[in-house]
Symmetry: C2
Subunit: 434 residues, 2 copies
């Protein structure tokens, strides 16, 4: 039975989070928003996808989705599944729209929203949660879903196939393990820059009591403040729990090295986004310095604004990262994330997905689980970010217990938002914004 | 006297060029378009700026200009001139909109259009063409216009000041030389992929007769076709004229090296965009290979879609380019181009600006002239791209003689389009599109 995508609807959904200081870091203070896509079909089931934005400008990504939507409307799910890279390139390499990227920023985020909605639809039609849909795809189908263009110098289709074939071995056991124990996570909710010391202390204590043994704080303010807050968290969590730091790109390369010389005191597990997201050579220099400063205890992490697989390829080639933080919807959706997971496996770097925002936890849990089952096949150093915001707006919200994600079981990519939430927070005409 | 920017108008202007095969290359086939910005003031004079796009999607950059325009509307020219980096960052580091880049793609192109319009207004108010306005600014004012954020590991304000101070020496003589001889250029109009062999031969012969001694062709089609077309051009222009090649990112890294092994036969002067624009390490590998293949006769050039100064910084640090091709409006306008010119001077790499499209020739002539007068101070290896399209729509179009740009003399940045052209080609309601 053929299923045709008959409609592509875009909603500008914004949550007024800026006023509360949630999500505040060295360079972002936003109203967490989603450029939300709904695909209608002639068969009944629908597909949902989105890209996350930070408030103002969500109308720009909505415009980009509309500009790309003719590549999706009228297509059948079967023809997309038969030639996934051809479909992906119809969006990412559109002969007129590619100029607006290429493969980066607004136009690529819009590609991600649409591509993810198609994958949500495919998994929904198959009656499987996305992680299981992907994990059960034959190696050939997974390899055929990856656009190897511009990454063959680091990863060939044959190498990808070998990784995925190897991932079949023991995957039942790994799945049983996840069903029993869930997937490790860390929390970012304790240390936003907008929070006062007392709030940081109280939230850290609460998170530790709730079972979290890995906490991330924002840095990049005055160095003395960063250190004071870091000491508070370290004092609360003891020497064994992990403390990660996130500078959100605020430092220059040499500033980052200087700052880490001071912050090394509290034994950070990673420093995230120490400098500009495009600065591969800068990250590599910082990684070497931090490795030396901490005797290998601290590593560099980045990825939430890495524009595409070509940036990740280079971060790995340059040994610039010890943790790869994929994002589900800044890049061109599931197809490009597959490339990134395979690159990480090839280079032996653990993937810890970026989450938070709107619905990013819902998305990335599927990717982390699939990565463990079929690609990375290891839990060592793997954690999913967790932020306790806005899950109530999703039809199939994440569930956690004791600092661990439980496996999602409903069909699809967990991307669908509740119609009432869309109506309430639609910008600018929803009641929340009027 | 204080001048306040009272209005920011955006026009979606598109020229139906796709049908003719002009501008066709390995990955782009577009309707050359401009996201055109007009600034109104309370003093009478206006400012014009634009970013170039490739047709569809021009409405997205227009939306991005609108999203950023509140940072410009209501500001005085004096306060912008007094704190140029603060003004620039109000656009490039907006706490909500930065997420859509950062500093790349749609949102950064919109920044470029607005920033350039402000510079056009400043030069217009000063009664000087942009090149002269810039060249006559004191070193301190030029340095204060550059955002050194994320590039201090390659260029410090002190180093920039030293370059600009040195540029004062002999600048009168350099200007006299330009007034007499104009600025060297090369033409890209002879070898678009959409043209047949006979058309390529005829256009090459015509260009040679018109005085051009440097021609650029598009490559990246079937290798045999590329070689055949290259031989046609080389046969027409003889061994001494320069033949440049532009692959528009179509190759993977190893493909690029293989292709250049073949194309080296026709003695190319540079290979432009041999692979993905974000692939700094890939460009560096190709540069080493091409250098070895040709005994240093051929170099790698790139930049027309380099997203920002951080990408250019790395291309220089990695020795990935022998020619730096700045674009006037993909990056954040004049302020960021200043950073790029200074980086090129620091690393001793010649700048050959990207032009063509809509109005890019008009823009970059000012930048190349300023670069010669005050920054790079050398003509060796410097050429401005020239494409003979769409100049008739500009109030102050470029003028060339014998393959050389003549100095523009009217006040401003030559960015203003004729009102009749805007009206005719405004999308979708102009007569040309109805």
């Amino acid at each position: 039975m053929s299923v045709t995508i008959t409609s592509v609807e875009v909603h500008d959904v914004r949550f007024p989070t800026a006023a509360r200081g949630d999500g505040s870091d060295a360079i972002n203070r936003g109203d967490y928003s989603a450029t939300y896509v709904e695909l209608g079909t002639d068969a009944g089931p629908t597909g949902a996808g989105f890209t996350f934005t930070n408030g103002r400008g969500n109308e720009i990504t909505c415009a980009a989705v509309r500009a790309l939507s003719h590549h999706v409307r009228g297509r059948t799910v079967e023809e997309i599944a038969a030639e996934p890279v051809a479909f992906w390139r119809s969006l990412s390499a559109d002969v007129q729209l590619r100029w607006l990227g290429p493969e980066k920023g607004v136009i690529h985020m819009a590609t991600g929203a649409l591509v993810n909605a198609v994958w949500d639809l495919r998994a929904t039609l198959a009656g499987k949660p996305m992680w299981r849909f992907l994990a059960e795809l034959p190696t050939d189908d997974l390899v055929a879903s990856v656009d190897f263009k511009h990454i063959t110098d680091a990863l060939t289709p044959d190498e990808a196939a070998a990784i995925l074939d190897k991932g079949l071995i023991g995957s039942d056991g790994r799945l049983a393990e996840l069903r029993q124990s869930g997937f490790a996570s860390y929390t970012t909710s304790v240390g936003w820059l907008g929070y006062q010391d007392d709030k940081v202390r109280a939230l850290t204590r609460q998170a530790y009591d709730d079972g979290w043994r890995a906490m991330k704080m924002k840095v990049g303010g005055p160095l003395a403040d960063d250190l004071r807050r870091a000491r508070i968290i370290r004092a609360e969590i003891g020497p064994d729990a992990l403390l990660m730091m996130d500078a959100n790109q605020v430092w220059d390369v040499d500033e980052a090295i200087t700052a880490m010389t001071v912050l090394a005191e509290v034994d950070p597990y990673w420093i995230e986004e120490p400098t500009h997201a495009d600065d591969i050579l800068g990250h590599a220099r910082i990684a070497r310095a931090v490795d030396e400063l901490t005797g290998g205890r601290c590593r560099v992490a980045t990825g939430e604004v890495a524009a595409n697989r070509v940036i990740f390829k280079q971060l790995l080639q340059a040994e610039a990262i010890g943790v790869m933080q994929i994002d589900a919807c800044r890049v061109g959706g599931v197809n490009e994330v597959l490339a990134e997971l395979l690159l990480a496996a090839k280079f032996g770097v653990p993937v810890c997905p970026h989450a938070g925002g709107v619905g990013l936890c819902e998305y990335v849990q599927h990717l982390a689980i699939f990565d463990y089952l079929r690609v990375g096949t290891d839990l060592d150093g793997r954690m999913i970010e967790y932020v306790d915001h806005l899950h109530e707006h999703f039809v199939d919200p994440v569930r956690t217990r004791g600092g661990r994600y439980l496996l999602p079981e409903r069909p699809g990519y967990s991307a669908a938002m509740k119609p009432a939430s869309i109506a309430e927070f639609r910008f600018p005409d929803g009641p929340a914004w009027r």
